[in-house]
Amino acid sequence: MRPLTLGRLLLRCTILGLILFVVVVIALKLGAVQVSLYGLGRDLIRVLLHQSAGISTDYGVIVVDIRLPRILLAVVVGASLSVAGTSFQALLRNPLADPYVLGISSGAAVGSIIALMVENQLSISPEFAGLITPFGAFIGAAVTIAAVYFLGRRDGQMESTTLLLGGIITASFLSAIIMFLMSTLSGSNLRGASYWMMGSLSSLPPSSLLYFIGIGFIIAAGAIYTTSSDLNLLLAGEKEAMHLGVDVPRVRIVVYLAASILTGLAVSVSGAIGYVGLLVPHAMRMIFGSDHRMLIPASALGGAIALVIADTLARTVVAPSELPVGAVTAMVGAPFFIYLLRRRLA
C-alpha cells in the first residue's frame, strides 16, 4: 500500500463526494411522484439562488419540502452512524462493534417510548411537539452513555474489555425494559414505538433539528478526526500505543464520548437503523485500508451514500407504501459485504 499523502486523501474524498452528490441528485429525482430531471435541475438552481418564489408548486412541495430534508437527514444520519461504527471498532478493537453495541440505541429507544407515553398527557405547543420524541431519545442515549462510561471504568481508567461488557449488559437490560414498556403500550403508541425500533427516516424532521444534528455531527466527527493518528497506533495494541507516546486514556474518552454522541443524535431522529454502522466501516477499510486519517472521512461519505441509497430504495420499491429503511440496509448491505469479503480473499 502506498503511503497516504494529502493529495491522495483529497482526491479520494473528492471522488466519494462526487458519488454522494450524484446519488443525492438521483434520490431527489426518484420517488412515488414522477419528477422530470429538467424541472428538478431548474428548481434546484432556484433554491440555491434563493428564488424560491419561482419554484413550480408541483415540484416545489414534493422535492424541496419533502425529499430534500429527508435526503439531508439520511446524509447526516448515515455519516454519523458509520463514523461512530469506525470509532467503536477501533476503540474496542473488535470488528463486530457497531454504534449500537454499547446499548446506546436501546437507551434511546427507552427514552423515546417514555416520551411517546407522556406526550399525550402533556399539552405542548405545536412548534415543540415534533421535538418531544427526539428529545426523549437523546436524553435516553445520554443517560446510557454516562452509565456505560462508569461501568466501563476499572481502577479509575476506562478499559476496552470492561467497557464492551458493561455496554452489552446495559443493552440487554434496556432491551428487557423496552419489552416491558411495549407490552403496556397500545394503539398508535405501540405502532409508533415498533416503527421507531425498525428505523425510519419518513417523519419530516423540523429544520431546527436538522441544524442541531448537523452541528453535532461536525463537532463530534471533528473531535474523532483529531485522534485519527492515535487510533492508528492503537491498532497495534494499547500498551504499544502508550509506549509510542499516545495518551491512551484521553483518546479513549474523546472517542467514546464523541462516537456515542454521534450515535445518540442519529438514533434520536431516525430510530435504530442497523448495519450501516457495521458494514460501511468494513467496506471502506477493504477499499481504502485501515489508516484512520483516510478511513474516517471515507466512512462519513460512504455511510451517507449507503443510507441515501437505502432510503431511496425504501421509498420507491413498493411505492406508494414504504419499507422500513433498516430492512433495506440489511438486505442490500449483507450481500454487498459478502462480495467485498470474497473479493478480498480471492
Binding site: 497516504l4 419554484i55 397500545s186 394503539g187 419518513s202 429544520s207 471533528g222 483529531t226 486519517r293 406508494p320
Partner: protein, 352 residues
C-alpha cells in the same frame, strides 16, 4: 504521509463547513418556499386531538388516511370529493379504486402532496402523530377524529359531516343509526347478556379492553366481554379465559381472506378444548367492520345480536329497512345450540 495533524483537522473542518453551508442553504430556502397558502374560505374547528385547526369551509379535495374514515366519507355520500385513500381502504369496494397514498401508519407524504388535498382526514387511534406533524409542516390542513364508544362514533360521524360540508347527510345518517340502536336496545331489554371472548388475534391471544368502542359494541349487542382490562388491545392468557369460561367466542372475519382467527383453526390449537365454548361450538363470526370506528358498526351490532340472541328476533323475522347504508351480514353462522335457544326463548317470552 500527512504533514501535520492540525493541517488535516483544518481540512476536515473546511469540508464539514462546506457541507453545513449547503445544508443550511437548502433548509432556509425550504422555509421560504412553503409560505404560500391557497385562499378559499377557511374556518376554525376543534378536532379529535383537541387542537384548533384551520380548514376550508367546503373541502373539495379530501384524502383519507384511515379505512374507517374512507367508509364514513362514502356513507355520507361525498366520495366524489375523496381524491385519495390508503392501501387498507377496502370498503366499500369502490374505495379500492381511489388513488392510493400508502399505508395507514406510513403514508407516502409525496403522494399526498401530489394529490394537492385541501383536507386530510386522520384518526387519532390509527394514524401516527408524526404524520399529522409532517402534514402541518407542509401546510396541508388536517382533521383528526377520535372515538372510544359507539355513541362517539356516531357523534364524530356527525362532526365529520359538518367538517365536510355535508351536515344534512350526516344528520340523516346519525339519526338512522341512533334509531336502529334504540330499536335493538328495546328488543334486548331484560335479556341477560351472554359472556363472550372477543378474539382479535388467537396467537398470542389478544382481546379488547373495556374502554374500547369494540367492547361497547359488544355490550350493545347483548354480550359482555370477559376481559376487564384498561389496555385497549390486551394480551390475555388462555388460563384466565379457561377460568372465566366465556359462553361464546366472537371472531371478526376479514373479507380479504385472512382466516387465521377462524373458529376451526382456533379449536384445534392445544389447550383450547378446555373452553366450554369451544367444546359446545358456541361461536359467532361478525364482519371485521366491528373493529372499525365507522357507521357500519351498527350493522355489525345488529348482526351479532341476532347471532347471540336468535330467540329475540324470531317473532319479527325481518323488519330492517332497506334505506340503511350498505349492510353486509354475510358471516352469519347461527350458533349451534338448540337447547340454549329454546331455554332462552322461554325466558324471552316471559319478558315480552
Amino acid at each position: 504521509m500527512l504533514r501535520s495533524r492540525s493541517n488535516s483537522v483544518s481540512r476536515a473542518l473546511l469540508f464539514c463547513a462546506t457541507l453545513f453551508f449547503l445544508l443550511s442553504e437548502a433548509i432556509s430556502a425550504q422555509a421560504d418556499s412553503s409560505a404560500q397558502p391557497p385562499s378559499p374560505e377557511m374556518h376554525d374547528v376543534t378536532d379529535g386531538y383537541g387542537r384548533t385547526v384551520r380548514i376550508p369551509v367546503n373541502p373539495s379535495r379530501i384524502v383519507s388516511l384511515a379505512p374507517s374514515l374512507t367508509e364514513t366519507v362514502y356513507a355520507l355520500g361525498v366520495q366524489d370529493r375523496l381524491v385519495g385513500d390508503t392501501d387498507y381502504c377496502d370498503y366499500p369496494p369502490e374505495a379500492q379504486k381511489k388513488p392510493k397514498v400508502g399505508g395507514v401508519i406510513n403514508p407516502n407524504l409525496e403522494q399526498i402532496a401530489a394529490l394537492r388535498p385541501d383536507l386530510v382526514l386522520l384518526s387519532k387511534e390509527g394514524n401516527m402523530l408524526d404524520t399529522v406533524r409532517a402534514l402541518d409542516s407542509l401546510h396541508i390542513p388536517t382533521y383528526a377524529t377520535d372515538a372510544h364508544s359507539v355513541e362517539q362514533i356516531i357523534s364524530s360521524t356527525q362532526r365529520l359531516a359538518d367538517v365536510l360540508n355535508a351536515s344534512e347527510a350526516g344528520k340523516a345518517l346519525s339519526d338512522d343509526l341512533q334509531q336502529r340502536l334504540q330499536t335493538l336496545q328495546v328488543k334486548l331489554t331484560g335479556v341477560p347478556p351472554r359472556s363472550v371472548l372477543f378474539i382479535v388475534w388467537p396467537e398470542p391471544l389478544m382481546s379488547v379492553g373495556k374502554n374500547t368502542f369494540v367492547a361497547d359494541a359488544l355490550r350493545r349487542s347483548g354480550a359482555a366481554s370477559i376481559v376487564d382490562s384498561n389496555q385497549d388491545w390486551p394480551q390475555v392468557s388462555l388460563e384466565e379465559v379457561a377460568k372465566l369460561q366465556p359462553d361464546c367466542l366472537v371472531f371478526a372475519a376479514s373479507h380479504t381472506g385472512s382466516s387465521g382467527n377462524d373458529f376451526e383453526s382456533v379449536a384445534h390449537r392445544p389447550g383450547w378444548q378446555l373452553l366450554n365454548a369451544v367444546r359446545n361450538r358456541h361461536y359467532a363470526v361478525v364482519s371485521d367492520a366491528i373493529i372499525r370506528p365507522a357507521p357500519r358498526i351498527v350493522s355489525v351490532i345488529e348482526d351479532l345480536a341476532r347471532q347471540l340472541h336468535p330467540e329475540v328476533f324470531q317473532e319479527k323475522p325481518d323488519n330492517e329497512r332497506p334505506s340503511t347504508p350498505p349492510t353486509s351480514p354475510p358471516f352469519i353462522k347461527p350458533i349451534a345450540s338448540p337447547s340454549r335457544v329454546s331455554a332462552r326463548s322461554s325466558e324471552v317470552q316471559c319478558v315480552l
